[in-house]
């Protein structure tokens, strides 16, 4: 395999035929093309000049952003509980580092391509500084101008970026053959971001002792209160990366199972940890939860080791049905909640144990996973059920960019199984089920998302028994996932239709049951074929979460378009709508663009559309 990779032929490198030839071919190939070139260069320079002028004009109140960054990110989350947010981010980043390090491939990139990227970035910044206007008109009627960029500053900046440009050119030509591990390069990039937090200084609103705003605004680091946490998190990320690398070099198999399981559990932990501050008491845990955990782990041990024995394995289906029956019966009985869900998990364990625990080592691994997940589940249930101690002004604890993530993530996660089921229903051979699924999908798709959000925020309560009320955010998540499921179903249906009839027939020929045929033959192929549309749908869902601003949830856009421009207490930011909308646009763009680029790379690696 590795030999194959090494001997793979790389395409012949295109020789650069000289600047003159390139210009002639790409910019001045004909008279029309030349005119077009001059026109578009003029338009682009004019456009960039006015955009830069807009950004650095003294009229802009960029402090509206820097002062309100916390509002943008978490809205009204109490400051005293911020440590929970940081710990959660740390948890996710640590897990990310572990996974990254564990799955790291020793892929190398040449310094040539890296320095080419740097050269592109530096030369575009150089160009932008070169064309930036030195004065802007601040009063259109009177025509007064203000100086925004002193010539000396411009030359100073040009000098800096010129040196950077030259040094990257030097690296490109002299050290072209040198190579660097891709992972280290990425760590370097993230490190540069953290360094930027310390170095880049922006105007910040400050107050003196008598609560009067200081004028002019002093320049402070980009993130005054968060640079130490971010630095710490960066160190954590790097450390876990190396730990992951170490684990992978030791070839420990169980990590391979633990990591995905931890990723699956992360959202639950995040929700219980950030959005709730559970009222734990040690006595409850010791008297009720611990015995249950120990009991279930013992039962699990028995199941894994004895149900698997050759004598009993033939009765396995009776155990499966029996445990399901017990779980259902217990579910309807008035017993503590901590008993109900684990019984269903036990049912799942009994169903999968013979398939997974087929060797001594895997039996041990399964037992560890089982115990850990039962313990986490029961503790989560304890945390989720107890009263939250976090109090925020307003109706919901979710807000800001965190809300955007909550809706996008849970919208996708919940909609995925429903979408697959709807797609199967729509392609099923049972006419009644097909009609119902088609009707549901088309009904949901025919109406714009905003009307569904209104449905969720105004009408959903009518359809529920009186007394049952959900949080506004939960309702938004519910309609988002219904909406997204219908679109997902259409994508998955495309994948299902792309599978040739022979696959179905082959599955029937080897005697697979319908469920096996779908889960082992059809679905893996169908889902793989529709990864690109699903990813683009995830991206569009992420963008669509901004619509919750219309129904009055405090998401990023609502804060930017309605809250801050109407803010006059503390610091006066009345009417700073342009700055805030631009910030929102750039912020959303950064996320969607990088996500889209990343997914494109993954698609390329999977070789989709080529095989």
């Amino acid at each position: 395999m590795s030999d194959n990779l090494n001997t793979q032929e790389s395409p012949p490198e295109i020789q650069f035929a000289g600047v003159n030839r390139w210009l002639k071919e790409n910019l001045f190939s004909s008279t029309g093309s030349s005119i077009l070139t001059f026109l578009s260069v003029g338009v682009i320079i004019g456009l960039f000049r006015s955009i830069i002028g807009f950004f650095i004009s003294p009229e802009r109140e960029w402090t509206a952003i820097t002062y309100n960054l916390r509002l943008y990110m978490v809205q009204a989350y109490p400051e005293s509980d911020f440590i929970r947010v940081w710990i959660t981010i740390g948890l996710v980043l640590g897990l990310l580092g572990l996974t990254w390090g564990f799955n790291s491939v020793s892929e190398k990139v040449s310094l040539k391509s890296t320095s080419t990227t740097f050269m592109k970035v530096f030369s575009s910044i150089f160009f932008l500084i070169l064309i930036a206007p030195s004065t802007v008109v601040i009063d259109k009627v009177e025509g007064t101008e203000a100086e925004v960029l002193q010539q000396s500053l411009r030359f100073y900046l040009l000098g800096i970026f010129g040196i950077l440009l030259l040094s990257s050119y030097f690296i490109r030509t002299r050290l072209a053959k040198q190579e660097m591990a891709k992972d280290y390069l990425n760590i370097l990039y993230v490190g540069l971001l953290v360094v930027a937090l310390w170095l880049i200084k922006v105007p910040t609103v400050t107050f003196d002792s008598s609560n009067v705003r200081l004028d002019p605004d002093p320049y402070m680091s980009l993130a005054t209160s968060t640079k130490i946490p971010w630095t710490f998190l960066y160190v954590l990320l790097v450390a876990t990366f190396f730990i992951g690398k170490y684990l992978s070099s030791k070839n420990i198999k169980s990590v391979k199972r633990i990591l995905p399981a931890s990723w699956l559990l992360t959202p639950l932990v995040v929700v219980t940890w950030i959005y709730r501050k559970p009222d734990f008491t040690m006595t409850q845990i010791a008297t009720l939860d611990l015995p249950i955990i120990i009991g279930f782990s013992l039962i699990g041990y028995l199941v894994i080791n004895f149900l698997n024995s050759e004598k009993l394995v033939q009765y396995q289906r009776f155990f499966v049905y029996g445990s399901l029956l017990i779980a259902l019966v217990v579910f309807s009985l008035p017993v503590v909640r901590q008993l109900k869900l684990p019984l269903f998990m036990l049912w799942i364990l009994i169903s999968i144990a013979p398939t997974i625990a087929n060797s001594k080592e895997s039996a041990r691994n399964l037992f560890i996973v089982w115990t850990v997940s039962i313990a986490i589940l029961i503790l989560l249930m304890r945390g989720g059920a107890s009263e939250s101690l976090i109090v925020v002004p307003g109706s919901s604890i979710y807000g800001g960019f965190a809300l955007t993530w909550v809706i996008a993530f849970f919208g996708i996660a919940i909609s995925f199984p429903f979408g697959v089921i709807l797609a199967l229903g729509r392609t099923s051979t049972f006419p009644i089920i097909r009609i119902i699924c088609t009707a549901l999908i088309e009904l949901v798709r025919s109406v714009p998302f905003i009307t569904w959000l209104f449905f969720g925020s105004v009408m959903l309560t009518f359809f529920l028994p009186s007394g049952v009320e959900f949080d506004e955010v939960v309702r938004a998540v519910v309609v988002t996932s219904i909406f997204s499921a219908a679109y997902l179903a259409e994508n998955v249906r495309g994948g299902l239709q792309s599978i040739s009839k022979g696959q179905f027939e082959a599955a029937d020929a080897v005697g697979l049951s319908t469920l096996q045929r779908i889960s082992l033959i059809v679905m893996p192929q169908a889902l793989r074929a529709v990864i690109p549309p699903i990813v683009s749908q995830v991206i569009s869902l992420f963008k669509d979460t901004s619509l919750v601003a219309i129904v009055g949830l405090f998401d990023l856009l609502y804060i930017g378009s309605k809250v801050i421009p109407n803010q006059s207490q503390g610091a006066n930011f009345l009417g700073t709508i342009q700055e805030n909308i631009l910030f929102c646009a750039i912020f959303y763009w950064l996320f969607t663009y990088s996500f889209a680029r990343r997914s494109m790379k993954i698609e390329k690696r999977l070789g989709l559309g080529e095989r």
Binding site: N26, L27, S29, S33, L36, T37, S40, V41, I44, K140, V141, T429, F430, P431, I432, I433, I436, E442, L443, R445, S446, V447, P448, F449, I450, T451, F454, F455, V458, M459, T461, F462, F463, L464, P465, S466, I539, K543, D544, S546, L547, A549, I550, L557, S561, I577, Q578, I581, L582, C584, A585, Y588, W589, T592, Y593, A596
Partner: protein, 515 residues
């Protein structure tokens, strides 16, 4: 096979299990729906706002900021204003987004490096920012213009202020509709001339200049129309008046019988087609349970329709169609429709169909404020502008992707073959590349149009009164959320169905005719 009978118990028969399971599932779903709606009705009754359609007929007492009427007489009319406003953006948006998107798609395939990079940069910027943010952005752009002051009063050619954009517009005369139909006819005339000239070219082998001739026909046809030729269209109005008279005289039962016979005819055709299909060699004359199901459903649907037409809802619907319904104060019946056509297309109208008028800023009433005169020129309000520009730019970048991939999907050999035949670049595009690219582009293009139609609903964020915004105002006033939601659903489904059937029609026409 037919005579071979296996002695299996019916509960192990696959066919029985299949249908029993499905019917159980259906019952379960129906039960679920009934539970939900029963709960909703109980909850609504408890809030003293029982579900009803009455608000559609009563005067809602709301003001709509723009539209063909600003003080609607009935709830239904308010919703009609919203629908008209939504359609205004949708139709013009589809036109401009297609134009811009095609331009950008071609620019992204340009050999000119800077044009290609600039367009790609623009596309990547616009498509990765949520549409709502963009709409807010355009609103902020127009609000950053100076307000209308006293110095601005008077006539302008084009004027932009925080109140919106004002520009010259063609004011419709009484004969405008007549000329409009005449203008539409001119396309088919030009097409006809083009085809005739091409036929002559192919027959005689001389250059007959089809493009020039069709252009000439187009222009002269319209010149004739402008100076009175449009009166010929009045014939359509006369026909419409007879149809209106016929429907006016038609009693309710007549329309019911018409509907029933139409439905029975189609059901008969469908069922006989199904039976004929099973007689083919492939199906060996066996009526499978799925076929039986289809036939039963077709028959059931007709039965439901027949019974439904005589139930209160059905008769109300028929009354609506024959224009006897006075309660909702909305002239939506068939006779009213044809009466409207007759009124617009009366051959007695004369005068020039359109006159150019310039916008004017005037004093608002007796106050010190200034506003644009609503009677002359055209004013694009802030909400309309923001929604319109946002939706068009957002859709056009997606259309540019469709166009780009469509053109790229046409095999290179096709254009090489065309060039080797000696076709000119333009002819090559028109006859070889575009027809094949269009075939690939049409279905995704239709999807984009649907998205555009749905995205206009974001106008609510910038106070543009399209159907969702009007509906929301209406249910805040009257409390009939469920009824408004049903109307939204019906309206958007109609738009989706219309758009997709248009696209499907063209798709079918362009499909490769296979053996």
């Amino acid at each position: 096979m037919k005579n071979f009978k296996l002695n299996t118990a019916f509960w192990r028969d696959v066919r029985f299990l299949k249908w029993a399971g499905q019917i159980l599932f259906l019952l379960f779903i129906l039960n679920l729906i009934q539970n939900f709606f029963g709960q909703a009705i109980r909850n609504l009754n408890a809030t003293n706002l029982p579900f009803s359609w009455r608000f559609l007929g009563s005067t809602p007492g709301i003001q709509v900021s723009e539209g063909f009427v600003t003080y609607p007489e009935s709830g239904l009319q308010a919703l009609q204003i919203g629908m008209a406003n939504m359609l205004r953006i949708t139709v013009s948006g589809i036109f401009f987004a297609t134009f811009l998107g095609t331009l950008m798609g071609i620019a992204r395939l340009s050999k000119n490096w800077i044009v290609e990079r600039a367009t790609t940069g623009f596309v990547e910027t616009v498509r990765n920012i949520p549409l709502l943010v963009q709409i807010f952005f355009w609103q902020a752009v127009i609000l950053s213009f100076p307000r209308l002051e006293e110095v601005d009063r008077g006539q302008h050619l084009v004027h932009i202020s925080a109140k919106g954009i004002a520009f010259p517009w063609l004011d419709a005369g009484e004969a405008s509709w007549l000329f409009g139909v005449w203008f539409l006819l001119s396309f088919s005339v030009a097409r006809r001339v083009f085809k005739l000239r091409v036929a002559k070219l192919e027959r005689e082998g001389v250059d007959t200049k089809p493009g020039l001739f069709s252009m000439g026909a187009f222009i002269s046809w319209n010149i004739i129309g402008w100076f009175g030729g449009y009166k010929a269209v009045g014939a359509l109005g006369l026909i419409a008046s007879y149809i209106a008279m016929f429907f006016d005289l038609l009693p309710r039962i007549g329309l019911q019988v018409l509907f029933i016979s139409l439905a029975s005819y189609y059901a008969y055709k469908y069922i006989s087609k199904e039976i004929k299909r099973t007689r083919s060699a492939e199906n060996r004359g066996i009526l499978t349970d799925d076929d039986v199901f289809r036939i039963i459903v077709a028959a059931l649907l007709v039965l439901v329709l027949i019974v439904g037409l005589f139930l209160p809802l059905g008769t109300a619907f028929i009354d609506f169609l024959i224009g006897d319904e006075l309660f909702f104060k909305a002239d939506w019946g068939i006779p009213q429709f044809f009466d409207g056509i007759q009124n617009k297309l009366n051959w007695e109208y004369s005068g020039s169909p359109f006159t150019l008028s310039y916008p004017e800023a005037i004093q608002a009433g007796t106050s010190k404020f200034t506003r644009y005169s609503p009677d002359v020129g055209k004013i694009m309000s802030v909400g309309y502008f923001a929604t319109w520009v946002g939706v068009i730019l957002y859709t056009s970048v997606f259309i540019s992707e469709v166009v780009r991939s469509g053109i790229m999907a046409v095999a290179k050999g096709q254009s090489e073959a065309g060039l080797s035949l000696g076709l000119r670049r333009r002819t090559l595009l028109r006859l070889i590349v575009l027809p094949q690219a269009l075939r690939i582009m049409l279905p995704p293009m239709g999807n984009q149009y649907l998205n555009l139609a749905k995205n206009t609903s974001l106008g609510i964020a910038v106070a543009y009164p399209e159907i969702v915004a009007v509906g929301q105002t209406l249910y805040n006033q009257e409390g009939q959320t469920i009824a408004v939601f049903i109307i939204w659903m019906a309206f958007y489904s109609t738009i989706s169905l219309t758009l997709s059937s248009i696209v499907n029609y063209y798709n079918r026409r362009m499909r490769i005719v296979e053996r």
